[in-house]
Symmetry: C2
Subunit: 172 residues, 2 copies
């Protein structure tokens, strides 16, 4: 089964981000707006049970922290993905790193850049139009992060949440 | 904010149910296949924090149980909703009832029928065609239930999971 680990921002932030994704992100209907902590990886039932214990420890070592977003950026020319740049809180890098070590499969391909995708799989021309338009917008958010979610992908490509991990509140 | 409380069956069961929902359920893209424990209700942040504590107690009082599905049924003529009938495990009624009492808002309109929707909002003719075809199929599942999820609805009507509650595993 294919799993991933993500942070969902609060509802008002998701709603505003969706107003952009709706037009530009073909994954709009597959998963709500999210910040990925660990990209998709394969795990069987025994492995995921083991990783859930690890995720509880990771969550319990965290405290809620605030996240700031104030810039639209792009991964071009690597990929034509346009995203909201998230202020590089150390907490995000620490969590992402823990999810690449120990019992976790190592599946980080690029260096970790905390971000929320707005647009992807655009042609060259679309990318430059959309990026030109989105970067002019005054998109600013501050949000409090107190949890992350383990998600899995169905055959129709939609992601379902398996479990939430609330900082400092997990029973191990 | 609008919340609901649901059980998601396991991935193989969701995948098969989606193969029917895709054609007949306009909510197909809004939420994965689910068994509703408590219909949509409004709650503010303070109220939901209070209810989350209650939900942890409810989950901790439960043990995993098996769910059997072996019949397609319909709510017609009340509504043209076609659903999978879930064997009436007492656990489901107990949980649903606890979510209507004490600190929870009372919002149960019909008597509680544990079910997973396959098709809804069909015209009279569609309903009778689709019901005729689905009731002939040999749809049988057995699944183990060990958690439920608190979900909330975004402005685009898609539901996001806020928190999972795993039976016997919640820290209160």
């Amino acid at each position: 089964m294919k799993y991933g680990i993500v942070i969902f921002p609060s509802k008002p932030v998701q709603d505003e981000i969706n107003s952009y994704r709706k037009r530009y992100d073909p994954h709009y209907a597959l998963i709500p707006p999210h910040l990925t902590l660990k990209e998709a990886f394969e795990a069987d039932d025994a492995k995921i049970a083991e990783l859930i214990t690890e995720l509880k420890h990771i969550a319990n070592d965290m405290e809620p922290f605030s996240l700031n977003i104030n810039k639209v950026s792009t991964f071009a020319p690597v990929t034509n993905t346009i995203y909201l740049k998230v202020n590089p809180r150390q907490e995000l890098f620490d969590m992402a790193e823990k999810m690449q070590t120990g019992k976790f499969p190592e599946n980080q391909t690029y260096s970790y850049v905390p971000h929320i995708t707005l647009a992807q799989k655009l042609s060259e021309d679309e990318h430059s139009d959309v990026y030109g338009s989105l970067r002019m917008k005054d998109i600013q958010f501050e949000d409090t992060i107190d949890r992350f979610h383990l998600v899995y992908q169905l055959d129709n490509d939609i992601w379902t949440v398996y479990e939430s991990f609330v900082f400092g509140k997990e029973f191990v």
